[in-house]
Symmetry: C2
Subunit: 167 residues, 2 copies
């Protein structure tokens, strides 16, 4: 076989960013595949990202925009899609005529439940692969990193870049 260009011996990157990215992608690919296999064909990465910010009890659309790190239009379009799929519903906020409340439908709650189960399964797989101890240190390090990030910027729990800078 041709081997004059060193295609064979070339290595992929090996730094934190790359590893985190690969791990994240792999996790999500596994999760999404399992979700779709469980009958939730509407499940996509972008939607999953948004759902992560919607607690079981529902939330104000504006609160959602603040928490997730994207524009309100992006959030809106994702919500439009999820609403059309029957996963969520939007109700007028009784306490603010401008606002809307976002909450899960039966279908959405069922999906959340399946999601929880699948997460556990994946986690078990990970533990089986690298051992409980290493898995725990992984989680510990990731949490510490997140805490560090929160402290570095303002104090909100996320990668939101100082929600009160230009406001």
């Amino acid at each position: 076989m041709v081997k004059e260009l060193d295609e064979k011996s070339e290595t992929l990157p090996d730094h934190v960013g790359w590893r985190l990215w690969q791990a994240s992608r792999a996790w999500h690919a596994e999760f999404a595949a399992a979700m779709r296999a469980a009958g939730h064909a509407w499940f996509t990465e972008a939607r999953a990202g948004l759902l992560g910010y919607i607690p079981r009890g529902g939330t104000r659309q504006s609160a959602l925009i603040e928490r997730s790190a994207t524009s309100k239009q992006a959030v809106q379009q994702l919500l439009d899609g999820l609403e059309a799929e029957g996963v969520l519903e939007r109700l007028p906020d009784p306490r603010d005529g401008r606002g809307k409340l976002v909450r899960y439908t039966r279908k959405g709650l069922d999906a959340l439940q399946d999601g929880d189960r699948i997460k556990l399964e994946i986690e078990h797989g990970y533990v089986a692969r690298i051992g409980r101890e290493r898995f725990d240190t992984l989680m510990d390090a990731l949490r510490a990193l997140d805490r560090g990030r929160s402290e570095a910027s303002g104090e909100a729990g996320n990668l939101r870049d100082r929600p009160s800078e230009a406001k």
Copy 2:
């Protein structure tokens, strides 16, 4: 402030997938910001992902498609963009009339060098935040996870799902 809906006490998810996703996004946001600040305005996440698969010495376009986990059309469009930006160039493969070689231009190599520097800076920041030991265990766990993944499927180093299944 209104507080009847438990907005305040609600917590974000805390499982591996979420943590990996957040960490990955945060890393990339930091990296991309630094790259753009360093004058590489063409830098985006998708392009970065692809560049990760292109070794310094260049590669065949087809090899690239195989390594990255996307369709060849997606790769092609990304390459089109990078070529238009003057980061890469495509040459005919002297050993295969059908093929093309992708390699970095001077501009591309300069960007890679800045990228390496920035990666180190970010890494130092991480170590400062969570300590050298914890950082090392993090990397160790991520590598172990990747190894586990490789062994689970075929043997290729990545999340590519068995490149020779339907082929």
